[in-house]
Symmetry: C2
Subunit: 195 residues, 2 copies
Amino acid sequence: MKLYSSSISGNSYKARLLLSQLGIPCTIVAVDILKGESRTPEFLKINPNGRTPALDDDGFVLAESNAILAYLARGTRFLPDDRRRWALAFQWMFFEQYSHEPYIATSRFLLQHRPDSPERAAALTARREGGWAALKVMEGHLSKNDFFVGDYTIADIALFAYTHVSHEGGFPLDDFPKIRAWLERVKSQPGFIKM
Amino acid sequence: MKLYSSSISGNSYKARLLLSQLGIPCTIVAVDILKGESRTPEFLKINPNGRTPALDDDGFVLAESNAILAYLARGTRFLPDDRRRWALAFQWMFFEQYSHEPYIATSRFLLQHRPDSPERAAALTARREGGWAALKVMEGHLSKNDFFVGDYTIADIALFAYTHVSHEGGFPLDDFPKIRAWLERVKSQPGFIKM
């Protein structure tokens, strides 16, 4: 098992975290996205969409962080088998990629890795409303649930990756006590590793 | 089975198309997103994220179009059971929601449903590069494959929804012959219905 992984990417971290919790040995191939290493002709042969992470399982190559989580988790306790819970895990992973990551993760990337400019300021402003909206949806759900779907699953891993560093994107969690408590529950899971 | 569905939304159409192909009777509840009906207090009780579609299967409520596809397709030929093909179907569905829909579907929404303005023009410009990039990835894949994963699956349904109307978002497919041939293959599937 080989993972093409960016050290600064929460999407790559998702896969590293689950691999740790499953106890699956994996060779990490560092891809420096800031140096354009995910857009080289060589890397585009691995993932034509030019993004990390990508998993290589004995020649089978899979892209998209949450598809990698699903692939690794299938048949384990990290992806419930019950049809409804199974579907809800995917619901929350699609929520993460559509309603959370594009606001919170990209704001973090801009703040941490791009110089200040009017364009950056405009891009950050355009992401405020969506980011807070996603956090409010999470806070509401976690006010009635300890995890996103029953016990700890890949839905939690997907949402933890960028939520636990959301302050680095300008989204501090002061007003989200349920999210903060959930972050601690995730951090206390066996096999947890830091980003 | 009840589907909260927007008639103008490709995301809602995905679910209607698969329900047709599975022969599952379903009550369509029309939600007029242009009138804000997906953000009313009543609808937010159904989907706190305020988006269509949402499926209600005998009281079990599921949001996110591609999670609904997965839920309905599980155990059918529309979602392969083979672990690798199964994972690739999800890979393409996550690709659709992250790298395709935010550019092509939102451009179509802006062009069809928002008046011309400097802000709209800027938003459309910001979506050009990503939209063409997604189409190029699809064209490359379809130059070696008839469908996205083996035979026709929910990955095709997810990607068909906004690709077949991409010209309405300013992305005509003249330079994408493989995509155009694939659209025809999808349209010829049993149970196909128009958006």
